[in-house]
């Protein structure tokens, strides 16, 4: 009976007008299913077998796309019950949770799908990097992908303002204040133009007012629901289309039909994600804090996990560096990768790893492109270390608490931070970045012809060792000898050494201070100069270890690409260095020019 109906149904004119081919599994219909379907024809008809292995792609790009679709659908539904005004927004979210049938589930799904999408997009980027899939001919698509990562984060950011709870308000206050700290066009940024005021600066442009209120909420609503998804969709089309048109970084032999081999995998991935999302959204409620109140900030006030790394970064640098310059450089650096990585190896498979040793330290390094993989993964790990610190090691007043320590709002912790004098700090910065200067072959040859075959090696040793010593001197000499400019107004101790030696947040300086106190000046000063010498030589030695690699890289990349790679690499390591200076030495700024709002 049913069979009969089915047979006749397929003979009707309506059916035939909708489905232009039959569904028997023949090579012909397999092709027709793909190019006869507007949704599927973004796929090629046949695809290399290697490119669709699950353990190769993990389906991360496709899952991200599916999550975007989930977010669009749940988002459209949520919009039916949401009004973007400060009077209504919070109550509407409450209503969604308590008064609207299935509203809570939809909101949970929207929130958790957004979190999951951030995860899958980041993992997708790491996967593409590790398998070298950004290499020619796919450089441009990597750039598009990086911009889509930025948009994913921006969508998350504009999205969590909408509930108008405390998390929303303070995240947006901080974000908008970063705009106010933009160099040149921000009212509180360095080198502000003379006509910039709170009434016309970058923050005003972003939030549509001088305070975060109705205008800001409406703007973020429009950005979140219309503007950014619109631009994102355009980029998405380009991204997907270019995957197909650019062909694969590595051409493999055997090809298979996209229907059913790829389409079935995509369907299974979507199914799997749907199940996970449902279980997650039923089990865990999307957070909603108290109603937004500009006069009270929750203590501590933490961003969602994907921005906690940025929040933690803001602790160590001025807002214009941590909030504007560094994120900009990270995005720029990511986009540069395919254009500065000229190594054709490592495409189409994950890096093969091997054990090697650097001195006594065992290292797990990739065989084929060790520098690229190590530096990229170091950056990713650094970012997640910052997230870990921000999430688990920060308590009330954003003070350091170990994860196992109990938080206390009454803990007495007299934190103290001091600036290095500008000239010393500038010397430290300059000698750090000079470590990146290579010694080109032409200069090596000239040195060898003048001073014998040993001359280039000796010059390199003098150069790196000397810079290392200068760095150690520029850091420790002022810390030990400089007077404290805050004494006696804000500081009880006349020197930086004594002030930081009594602070609990500068363990290295405290250790040195106690050492000198115990040894007395007669023994203490020689010991200190010995420490400076040893520290400097260790830093210089590290620079020397990379000297030959550095010179080779310079010869291979040429000046401009080398400057970009080395500059970005030194900046990344410099961020780590500044974090160490802050956490272990109690140093606030290396260079401080408050008159220009310029501090490093």
């Amino acid at each position: 009976m049913i069979n009969f109906a089915k047979q006749n149904l397929k003979k009707t004119k309506i059916w035939k007008s909708i489905f232009r081919h039959d569904f028997t599994d023949t090579p012909r219909t397999r092709l027709q299913r793909v190019f006869g379907n507007v949704f599927l024809h973004l796929h090629p008809v046949r695809i290399p077998k290697d490119a669709i292995r699950i353990v190769y792609t993990w389906g991360l790009g496709g899952i991200s796309f599916y999550l975007f679709l989930v977010l669009v659908v749940t988002g459209i539904l949520l919009m039916f019950y949401y009004r973007p005004t400060t009077i209504h927004a919070y109550q509407d979210i409450k209503d969604l949770a308590y008064a609207v049938t299935l509203g809570r589930l939809l909101r949970n799904m929207h929130r958790w799908a957004a979190h999951l999408m951030v995860v899958t997009v980041i993992l997708h980027m790491v996967r593409v990097f590790l398998t070298g899939a950004y290499k020619p001919p796919r450089e441009y698509n990597w750039v598009v992908g990086v911009l889509m990562l930025v948009m994913t984060l921006f969508l998350s950011y504009t999205g969590y303002l909408l509930p108008w709870d405390q998390l929303a308000l303070w995240a947006v206050t901080v974000g908008a204040q970063m705009a106010a700290n933009t160099p040149v066009v921000g009212n509180e940024g360095p080198f502000r133009l003379p006509f910039i005021t709170p009434g016309n600066d970058a923050k005003f442009f972003l939030v549509g007012g001088t305070i975060i209120s109705d205008n800001a909420l409406l703007r973020f609503y429009v950005l979140h629901c219309i503007a950014v998804p619109f631009i994102f969709s355009i980029f998405l089309c380009v991204h997907l289309w270019r995957v197909r048109k650019d062909t694969f970084s590595r051409q493999t032999g055997e090809k298979v039909d996209v229907w059913p081999h790829l389409v079935s995998r995509e369907f299974l991935a979507a199914l799997w994600v749907t199940v996970v999302l449902f279980v997650w959204s039923i089990a865990l409620q999307a957070p909603l804090e108290e109603l937004a109140n500009i006069n009270v900030t929750p203590n501590p006030s933490k961003a969602p996990w994907y921005f906690v790394g940025l929040q933690e970064l803001l602790v160590y640098f001025d807002p214009w560096i941590a909030g504007v310059a560094l994120p900009g450089l990270i995005i720029f650096g990511l986009m540069c990768i395919p254009y500065v990585d000229l190594n054709p190896k490592g495409v189409g498979s994950y890096p093969r790893m091997q054990w090697s040793r650097a001195g006594p330290i065992p290292l797990w390094t990739p065989v084929e492109r060790p520098f690229a993989v190590n530096v990229f993964m170091f950056g990713i790990v650094l970012w997640f270390v910052l997230i870990f610190i921000g999430y688990y090691c920060r308590g009330p007043n954003w003070e350091w608490y170990w994860p196992w320590e109990e938080w206390s709002h009454r803990r007495i912790s007299k934190l103290t931070l001091k600036n290095l004098p500008n000239l010393w700090g500038g010397l430290l910065l300059a000698s750090y970045f000079l470590q990146g200067v290579p010694i080109p072959n032409t200069i090596k040859q000239r040195l060898a012809s003048r001073g014998g075959p040993q001359a280039p090696a000796i010059a390199s040793r003098l150069f790196h060792g000397g810079l290392g010593l200068v760095m150690a001197v520029a850091l420790l000499v002022p810390l030990i000898t400089a007077p404290d400019p805050d004494y006696p107004a804000r500081s009880r101790y006349p020197t930086l050494f004594a002030a930081l030696g009594h602070a609990k947040n500068a363990p290295v300086v405290m250790g040195l201070y106690n050492l000198i106190e115990r040894l007395g000046p007669a023994w203490g000063l020689p010991v200190l100069s010995g420490l400076i010498g040893v520290g400097g030589l260790i830093v210089g030695g590290m620079g020397m270890k990379f000297a030959r690699f550095k010179d080779r890289m310079y010869e291979e990349l040429g000046l401009i690409k080398y400057a970009m790679v080395m500059g970005l690499f030194l900046l990344m390591m410099g961020v780590l260095g500044k974090i160490v200076l802050r956490l272990l030495f109690g140093v606030k700024y290396l260079i401080s020019m408050p008159a220009f709002n310029f501090n490093i």
Binding site: V174, F205, I211, D214
Partner: protein, 166 residues
């Protein structure tokens, strides 16, 4: 040769190119001018001034009386009054007052300030802002959060400090 030059740079070509140039100039100018569209001309924001009651109501020290309603601390020293805007100079969160340590501490990135407003620790680059403060005719304190100063030397005088012996 002559004909070629005429075809490339002649009057017809000049008019054509000038026409297109003006069209694109207009289009580009109009698109750019829409940036101005995003700067609102009229704002509906709360007033930045408020009356904070009689000076006699304030004992020596930091008063948190107006923090929840007006986001400001009124501080009385033996010399007189000043008012700190409770907005961290780092990224604009509202710090909390800790009497035991004599510090304002910000919950967002951990900046510490002392009662005069100077930075003691954390990432804040500048001292807390002081608001203009004066007495009204009916003998109340009038705070203006629209007029701010944080430079040592300037913030302790003029409209930012109200002398009154305790």
């Amino acid at each position: 040769m002559q004909a070629n030059l005429e075809a490339r740079f002649g009057r017809r070509q000049f008019l054509l190119k000038a026409g297109w140039a003006f069209f694109y100039l207009f289009l580009g100018g109009w698109l750019l001018s829409n940036i101005r569209f995003l700067f609102p001309n009229v704002l509906y924001e709360p007033s930045l001034t408020f009356k904070a009651g009689k000076p006699e109501e304030y004992p020596l020290g930091v008063s948190e009386k107006w923090k929840k309603a007006q986001r400001a601390w009124i501080i009385r020293t033996s010399e007189g009054f000043y008012c700190l805007w409770a907005r961290c100079t780092h990224l604009g969160c509202t710090p909390n007052w800790f009497e035991a340590e004599g510090r304002f501490k910000c919950p967002c990135h951990g900046s510490n300030f002392n009662p005069p407003g100077d930075v003691l620790a954390g990432p804040a680059p500048k001292p807390l802002w002081r608001c203009a403060i004066r007495l009204t005719e009916d003998g109340q304190l009038l705070i203006d959060k629209g007029r701010l100063e944080n430079r040592p030397g300037l913030r302790e005088k003029g409209e930012f400090f109200l002398p009154m012996k305790a």
